[in-house]
Symmetry: D2
Subunit: 342 residues, 4 copies
């Protein structure tokens, strides 16, 4: 539509399911163009390149060394994030990296020591902040719709367990899945100063075998004194249950589940029945993935800071580490020092 | 609780299902006492008397002639209403009579000619005006919640066909069932000046055989210019569907169905499913029957006029007559002369 | 993404608001390409061409004579539809024309006499059949979810009156607005054999001055015996109220309004409050516009017939004509002869 | 209605707000009769006696020594419960006592040591088990509607703080208010084996001054391995928020709030808005208070055990004690030994 001179050229690292989804969003964005894609598996890159209409390149440097490419989107496996962030920042690219930065705080901090002085434009993909439902909650909170926040209840239930292979690399429920809720809690209610985590194995023996849990309840305390409850599970038969409730001195806000349609069925067996809710994160959060990309492009165009920056992603990891410590010790963990970032 | 000297003593005519229900409500009302009951079937009266703790009398005059009985509740068959109203009014009783007055306008008008000069306290049981849901709608309308009324949509669907014997005496769907909606339309939106009725036979051949319909849609026009839609059926598998929507210049009010509980079921087959709605008029309108009795007692105690008086019941009949004429002629019928009553 | 050789090249007639919306949908569709646009106002065409990345042409023949353009999308003013359909069909183009064909049945029939023998691929844009909500209702009906259809209630309320200039050319509420509901009634419940229409002027004097109405209620009867109620208004303060209820022998289906978000606000003033519903047809029906385009492309690619064809659009007009006659005469109008088309 | 010979005669201890409410329920129950009432404040007893139509007696023994009185209802202040239970059980009465038995476990156990061998019919008023909403949840769970239970979320928010005087005697939020939720958790999900409690002071300084909290979140673990979350507050501006969600392997059940009516308001400011929810425990749980009385009478008539017996009330207290210990220590408390009772 507009000439490609005005468009932001992206290079894509990682051509798996998430990478291709981000790649497609780039091609649909009127301000962006997908120039090149790379994957450690050359076949995957070739197929993605064909499907997305971009060049499949054979090495990372084909992207980092291309001056026409101003931005990179990192959607490769978690263990490659830190190295790609470092190299991309040094190459002067604007960097959008899928969450998490890494599962190991030492590597995360080493990464920042190396690139912090470059003041890179660096966004970590905590996409749920960009979901229209939750964003609307945040805007109403900021507008004072319910006064000061006293309680937050976050329900986050995965429709079905991930494959065992994924499980081993994921870092476990609290680092892989609940981490979204830690970020959301901070986004809505401010810094977290206390974490208590409770896990259970109710869904599938494979979780216990992987030294992981499949069911969790947590209670967090914010710097402002509010209490936050998070509940998680790896199996939810009626779909991907995603709800947030914020209770305050002057009222309550609830963001409910999204359904494929508004149609209600009334029969002798029951009334007002609707279909199961959205079946998974791709369908449930499609808006948020497009919106976070748009936010990233805004930041590049306007020279502003992303609201999901390196420091905020680090803070979500810090809470996840504390949550694991709490679950194992049966004690409440204090988080010393206010979090950085937004 | 309070001494019976302060209580309003009732005589009950008619000990069928409705009569016993009203009788029970009298016994539960702290300002009323059921003194006596009568039924043309002596056995029915005896059983009701035993169940309700009152004297079963052998003749109408045992009630009308008892000076301690100040009020009568007429719940006998429709063809006895006019005569009992007349005799009760002449005996100086306050009269509560189940709807309708009669199915024949000539008899209705003859009745009033005989008793109008007595200025009787006479209430006809259009109970739905006393339903908390619809009353709340009315109060909000009066408070200006949605500005001037432009459209009303009344959904009134019976769960299951009445027995064939009832059908023959009922006067047909429009006189027996829709008449509640005619009264409700007047209550909410004012006098009706135009009626168009459309009937269908979709539920059971017995209705056609009885020269009746089982499905209807109507459009009414009020003196204020608003349009009113009514839809009816004699079979609704998910319960007794009772809804009202009022649309105005500044918004809309909706009174929804009542369910036995708020419980929602979420499974792989569907979400948010609730039980069928209330199964029939006894369970759905129990509040309204108690409230209309209370209103009647208020009128006796305070010397005020009931909001469902003789004239308003006559007006509902007049609209039903016009609806039948419209259905048969395929034309819109004008109602000349504003209705009387409230 | 795919090479443009495989894409369906479109020419666009009419670059107003609707034309540009369709043009954008063409550019977003992975199987289509917008080759050229034309408008009687050359400036409008130029601006649309720039915004949509296509050539703005100076004459209709630049599109009709271009063999690379296989399909046309007609979104010009209603009085040009018939002529453009005729010329496009003769030029061998696949034709997608915005509703209505024309407001004058004689012109509609003359058009078909001229092109019928060409057996053109010709789709009229009754977009609501492609709305995911209503399509879901249709699919459930077809699957027997509620048994045979007995009643349909269609609520269609415009948020705000159109500009007076539009009003004069629109053909009036029943031809411009209710016509969508006529088509929907046929889509869901089958052929219409009887129409009764009731109009009112409650919203703005401008409607009366234009010899139009701003509020309407209708009752239709289908060939299968079901009754259909439609209610319309030109002003609805809480948004674009779009609901359908279908009641059958075994249950009920309701398609409700869409809201910008699921967020509910609970305060001392009220609970469960949501934002106003979608503000207008562009936001409410965006999915349906994209889906109808996709259906059209399916038809071109597969050589199938569109479900919203010339005959079905003619039938919607025939019902609208009967509705006007009914409203003016105060009588129910019979529609002789079953409708054609789907 | 039925002769008083067949009725269960009650004596009432305590004529405050709760006592009068129970007294009224006795008078409304067709199987019960309120014979006498007593209060330490003779005036209160006299007024209640007049209002409820029973004899106001001057001493406890007037009730305990009356052989016609078979049952007592203890609704006096908490610190009198243990002594009245003991005396009533020894006098051979069936005993219905308001919750809690006492705030001090030592006194509770001493009480049972004294009367356990008498095998008294003794019910403690954990009324919420009899609420139709929650009972419906329980019945569906028992019927296997959602498979094995994995998570329970109980929301219990008081509309407004109690008076400071009450606060001092109440035993604190966890013993006075949350104790209902502890009992509910056991009722729905089985024995509790682990408790973690988190308190906050966000509502009113008076709570902190009373060494109490006004906001709480808890996580419990059941013997079956399920996790339970409870959230509480002493101030909720939209009414008495009472919800339960049970999540299982095959689905979810939600019992929602009750509203005074179903009426929804749609305006330019918002849509689907309903009134605040029920304002307090009297209006919200009126059904449950009547149903628990009926259950007690069933037990007396049939010689069965109440589902809210002494042991289950003791267990709720034991959980409350553990919750306090958890809150103060910041540690999860284990409850050794399975609970007794139902």
């Amino acid at each position: 539509m507009t000439s490609s001179n005005n468009m932001l050229n992206f290079g894509l690292f990682g051509c798996g399911r998430i990478g291709r989804m981000h790649g497609r969003n780039i091609t649909l964005n009127s301000r962006a163009r997908l120039a090149a894609c790379y994957d450690v598996a050359a076949d995957a890159a070739r197929q993605a390149g064909a499907a997305l209409g971009c060049t499949a390149v054979a090495s990372i440097d084909d992207i980092l060394g291309d001056p026409a490419i101003k931005a990179v989107l990192i959607a490769s496996s978690t263990d490659t994030h830190v190295e790609l962030i470092r190299a991309s920042a040094r190459a002067g690219k604007a960097v959008f990296c899928e969450k998490p930065i890494d599962l190991d705080m030492a590597l995360v901090d080493a990464c920042w020591r190396d690139i912090g002085s470059l003041d890179p434009l660096l966004m970590i993909g905590f996409n749920r902040r960009f979901d229209p439902e939750f964003r609307s909650v945040k805007e109403r909170l900021d507008a004072g719709a319910i006064g000061s926040i006293e309680q937050v209840v976050i329900t986050n239930r995965d429709p079905a367990p991930p494959p065992p292979t994924y499980l081993r690399e994921s870092g476990g429920l609290l680092h892989d899945f609940t981490i979204h809720d830690f970020d959301m809690a901070r986004y809505l209610a401010g810094e977290i100063v206390e974490v208590s985590a409770f896990g259970a194995n109710l869904v599938d023996p494979m979780f216990r075998e992987a030294d992981d849990i499949d069911t969790a309840m947590l209670v967090l305390r914010t710097a402002g004194g509010a209490l936050v409850h998070i509940n998680n599970t790896r199996r939810c038969v009626y779909g991907y249950d995603q709800r947030i409730e914020v209770f305050g001195a002057k009222g309550m806000l609830q963001a409910g589940n999204r359904h494929p349609s508004t149609v209600e069925v009334w029969t002798a067996d029951g009334t007002r029945a609707r279909d199961p809710v959205m079946p998974g994160f791709m369908s449930r959060y499609d808006d948020s993935y497009r919106a976070e990309l748009d936010h990233f492009i805004d930041c590049v165009v306007n020279g502003t800071k992303p609201i999901t920056d390196f420091a905020s992603a680090r803070e979500a990891l810090r809470i996840a580490d504390a949550a694991v410590a709490s679950m194992k010790s049966g004690k409440t963990m204090r988080l010393e020092g206010a979090g950085r970032g937004s």
